[in-house]
Assembly symmetry: none
Homo-oligomer: 223 residues x 2
């Protein structure tokens, strides 16, 4: 795991680098905006730690510059705990914000957290096997076939996609689709059958599987 640290306080930086090394985190280090830009150009990191106050600019503008071009998770450091700064940082795509002084152990934990998370590309289309779902346009296709779903079926499918690849509890589905009404197991069963027959026709691989007592899940058939 390798990160980029941009921090002008050399004492703090040294301590951090040493501590993170113990935790198995490699660190590229820059003390100014200019340096950061130069160093970072040829490398992709697991995370970037940015101080806000820098001698030749600030971390926020650096983040703004990188917005769109770099996709590393960013954690901001700052001595100020002004709310405005925090909100601005988050609006610039920061994923975390730590106020000085902080414990190095906490920094390490938060860095690891960011590095392990894969950022969500807000992709609007979901694909599984030959199924393709455009979540915004609400267009569903299986191979060449266009699938039209009833409102309930769409609700269920999008719920499953939202939690993919994890299963969703039956009771949770029922609450989601029939928030008010009395729950009736048969309604659930019917809906399920209808969605199934719409998603998989003929020889197409079934995608909707129930794990008994555990829930419903989207996945390609398991051998």
């Amino acid at each position: 795991m390798i990160i980029l640290l941009v921090e002008d306080d050399t004492v703090l930086a040294t301590h951090s680098i040493n501590f993170l090394a113990q935790e198995g985190i490699e660190v590229d280090y820059a003390s100014t905006v200019k340096q950061a830009q130069a160093i970072s150009e040829q490398q992709q990191y697991d995370a970037i730690v940015l101080d806000i106050n820098l001698p030749d600019g600030d971390g926020l503008s650096l983040a703004k510059l990188w917005q769109g071009t770099r996709d590393e998770p960013i954690l901001f450091l700052s001595a100020r705990d002004k709310l405005d700064d925090k909100l601005k940082a988050f609006s610039l795509g920061a994923l975390d914000y730590l106020t000085k002084p902080f414990a190095l152990a906490e920094l390490a934990v938060r860095i690891k957290l960011l590095a392990n998370k894969t950022l969500v590309k807000k992709s609007t289309t979901f694909k599984l096997d030959s199924l393709s779902v455009d979540l915004q346009a609400k267009i569903i296709t299986r191979g060449q076939r266009v699938i039209i779903l009833s409102p309930q079926q769409w609700l269920l499918l999008s719920l499953l996609i939202e939690h993919y690849p994890n299963p969703v509890n039956k009771s949770c589905i029922i609450n989601h689709i029939w928030p008010d009404e009395d729950t009736n197991n048969n309604m659930y069963k019917s809906l399920l059958t209808r969605l199934r027959t719409n998603l998989s026709r003929d020889e197409e691989v079934p995608l909707l599987h129930t794990l008994k007592k555990q829930g419903l899940v989207l996945r390609v058939a398991n051998a």
Copy 2:
């Protein structure tokens, strides 16, 4: 977007709920551990906000309880900023930790972050020999073979993984799987046999061993 807030300070809770509502975040609210368990049972949230100090327990143990069974991102609140608490929280799968007092705006931003941008979490897969268990997606494989477990068997396996590499007491298992019913030793024996035959077929190394008078343990060697 809907979240679960568990917080015993009703004033703070009220303010939070109102503020979050303005931000378009719906809130289910519980003030105790018991309430939280009851309310949360039939619902899946976009995020869970847990206070650490609660009248009838603490948020940490609640998180521990939910580990593996729920897949919501958890943000902890606490008046204490003791490092130990923070580290413990993160080790229990927390994705964020906010120290009181905090700005409601910051809470809202962090909640949105958790709910929107961390859909793909680090995969929590447990591996032992050729066995691989994805605790979130509930997918179990042994080598190339996909294993499907009954609800009871899944419960037992996840309990063993939770305590790995330590053995689990027999009475503890029985309490966990049959919390209410009359315990019958044969039920336990059957379950055990069934899980064994599912986990290890043919020439595969057995992984489920009982240590006499101590309990059940997952491990490779049988000595």
